[in-house]
Amino acid sequence: MSQHVISVKVENKSGVLARVAGLFSARGYNIDSLTVSTTELEDISIMTIVVKGDDRVLEQVKKQLNKLIDVIKVSDHIGATSIQRELALVKVSAVPSKRSEIFQLVEIFRAEIADISAKTMTLGVKGSPEKVDNFIELLRPYGIKELLRTGRISLSNQ
């Protein structure tokens, strides 16, 4: 089981997401993350799907995706050949005595302080999925109250 980042260029119309998602769910595959939005052309959307699965089965899924009438192009982005970004919002416990440590982390990761309250700070971080993972790991000891990730977007640099 290896991780795949599948970028699917589709017609921007209703029902397309269900068709694409159906090919994964029919095989019992859980999608780890999914982002969909329009591109430089407003009638075209890109779906970036992160999924773990058997290579042969995913090869088959990609062929099936290509067969969908509303799918224009399918590509599998493997780490080195693409730029991948993700955004996370983390609400972390931040009693006043711990705030300066957290500020330092924010500084190092070029994160953003989105909100601050008496007991918590809400931080936004963007970057490669690895960077986001690291940031979250370093925040964990302070007590993460809530965590949201956007799922990644991936642009081939070929």
Partner: protein, 560 residues
């Protein structure tokens, strides 16, 4: 000039030059039926929507044209599901219109509302919910294009009733342009060259051809290829007839109930040339022991079929007809005389056979053989699913494509009778049989009245053994003979049932009555005929490669 959505549908179908449509009315499609009343094409009223969609499927298989269906929303639409899935599995082109509640009611659990585009998403090649009357004509044009090109399949168009009633100007597009749909039809020249080299140097090649050859009308090109190379050929169930089974190079059908010689030749081959076939599990059995020594060439229009179950050495994505004609231009025959002797020996020593009963019981295989003989092999044979289907495949020798019509992939009981209606409408000049079991014929028996109404002389040959025979066979062989709920001790009197439906009913209980009954049925040309053959109760289909096993474990005959 503006016309209604309903009229746009009829006008579009006229542009597509359809000959007939199959369906059943209901609330939200009344506006369409209103204009169907004086449409220039035939409308065949089924007695259940499943019958309509199977009939359209049988029509499509027999004619090579697109089958067209119309049903209402809700239960009308869900009754189509089995038929749509049947067509999808066997790559049959259908355009299926369903009615839908009006747009402002969608999602409100309105009367007879279902999300049929959602339900049919995994069993259609594509589907549409019409959301704007401006799109209607284009969608119909696209649907016919998508259904009939590439690897064909069913397309559903869900039409809300307010779209059918609203007005718009009609203009039917001349061309289709879908950027995500451009099927490849010509094979890659380099791949074709590689394939030819492999073929010319092969020592033990076998051709394994399937329904794709029927769909692409490539039977002539296939025959030329075999003539030029002298390679023995086996076909799948859906490929029956693409190469004459009466020819010495034909190994007939392979797979679970295929011939011994087809399965063994494939197993011993050093090159398997797959043409329009998809390595179904009913063909391969235990996949790791299927072709231990063979390289594989796979010609198929669907890239997703290539290297799906079996890794392929030379894939050629393209239309079978085009690819075969390219190959035929350059191919030279391999030197395979010794191999041909081996194959001929396999064929001579292990014929497809059955034993006549000492008590004079009618063997189902005998009935099928007599149908073959009395029709001179010139009929169109539709089947139900189960033992009847396998005996029809084994003991009737098919020599032309589109003469064997059967639900292969989905295995849909109840398919045969409505499919026979569709086939008879497509090919009025031929005799059409439905070879049936006493179980499966009861699944869509209501369609018999449609055959009576249209004076279709379909001959329904029921191989009546009082059992759901194929399941009973598995219970006998693999489940300790516990015949749990497979005995159909209570059955209708099929002869009387035929009469009730305005058909002719014949009951056959004695061996010597078999041929006269078939002849009598063949002499009737203005109504359907049921012949109820009372056959041996516990006859099994052999050879049998048990599911998931290798051919080494083939069961050839009844174990004592």
């Amino acid at each position: 000039m503006k016309i209604s959505g309903a009229e746009i549908i009829i006008e579009s179908l006229k542009q597509e030059k359809i000959e007939c449509m199959f369906g059943y009315p209901g609330g939200v499609v009344i506006p369409i039926f209103h204009h169907l009343f004086d449409a220039p094409f035939k409308f065949i009223l089924s007695r259940h929507e499943q019958g309509a969609v199977h009939a359209a499927d049988g029509y499509a298989r027999a004619s090579g044209k697109v089958g067209v269906v119309l049903a209402t929303s809700g239960p009308g639409a869900t009754n189509l599901v089995t038929g749509i899935a049947t067509a999808y599995m066997d790559s049959i082109p259908l355009v299926v219109f369903t009615g839908q509640v009006s747009r402002e009611m969608i999602g409100n659990d309105a009367f007879q509302e279902v999300d049929i585009t959602g339900i049919t998403r995994p069993i259609t090649k594509h589907n549409y919910l019409v959301q704007d009357i401006q799109d209607l004509a284009r969608i119909i044009k696209e649907a016919f294009h998508i259904a009939s090109t590439g690897r064909p399949g069913p397309v559903v168009i869900d039409v809300p009733v307010d779209i059918s009633k609203s007005m718009y100007k009609f203009s039917y597009p001349d061309t289709v342009s879908i950027r995500g749909y451009k099927p490849v039809t010509s094979g890659h020249p380099i791949q074709i060259e590689r394939a030819c080299k492999l073929i010319e140097s092969a020592e033990r090649p076998v051709v394994y051809a399937g329904g794709g050859v029927v769909i692409s009308n490539a039977s002539d090109e296939l025959r030329e290829f075999i003539r030029k190379t002298g390679i023995p050929i086996t076909t799948t169930l859906l490929g029956l007839g693409i190469y004459p089974e009466t020819d010495p190079l034909s190994l007939e059908m392979l797979g679970m109930h295929g011939t011994y010689y087809a399965n063994h030749a494939v197993n011993q081959s050093d090159l398997l040339i797959a043409i329009g076939a998809r390595f179904d599990d009913r063909v391969t059995g235990k996949i790791s022991e299927f072709i231990p020594e063979a390289k594989v060439i796979h010609i198929d229009i669907d890239p997703a079929s290539v290297s799906k179950n079996v890794m392929v050495d030379v894939p050629i994505v393209g239309d079978c007809k085009q690819v075969l004609s390219e190959i035929n231009k350059v191919i030279r025959p391999p030197k395979i005389d010794r191999w041909l002797e081996t194959v001929a020996g396999l064929k001579r020593d292990n014929p497809l056979t059955y034993e006549m009963s000492e008590r004079g019981d009618i063997k189902p295989q005998y009935v099928v053989e007599q149908i073959y003989k009395q029709t001179g092999g010139d009929a169109i044979i539709c089947t139900e699913v189960g033992q009847n289907q396998m005996w029809a495949a084994q003991f009737y020798k098919y020599t032309r494509p589109r003469t064997f019509i059967s639900s292969g992939g989905l295995g849909t009981m109840g398919y045969g009778l409505p499919a026979a209606i569709g086939a008879q409408l497509a090919v009025p000049g031929k005799r059409v049989f439905d070879i049936a079991g006493d179980g499966s014929i009861q699944m869509n028996i209501q369609e018999l009245i449609v055959a009576t109404q249209h004076r279709l002389p379909i001959i329904i040959a029921i191989l009546n053994n009082g059992f759901l025979g194929m399941v009973r066979q598995w219970q006998q062989l693999f489940f300790d003979r516990r015949y749990s709920h497979t005995c159909l001790a209570f059955a209708p009197d099929f002869e009387k049932l035929a009469v009730a439906y305005g058909a002719v009913g014949i009951t056959v209980k004695k061996l010597e009555e078999v041929i006269p009954a078939i002849d009598r049925a063949l002499s009737i040309t203005d109504r359907p005929i049921i012949i109820d053959f009372h056959v041996s109760k516990e006859e099994n289909v052999y050879p049998m490669v048990p599911a998931g096993k290798s051919i080494k474990e083939t069961i050839m005959r009844e174990l004592a």
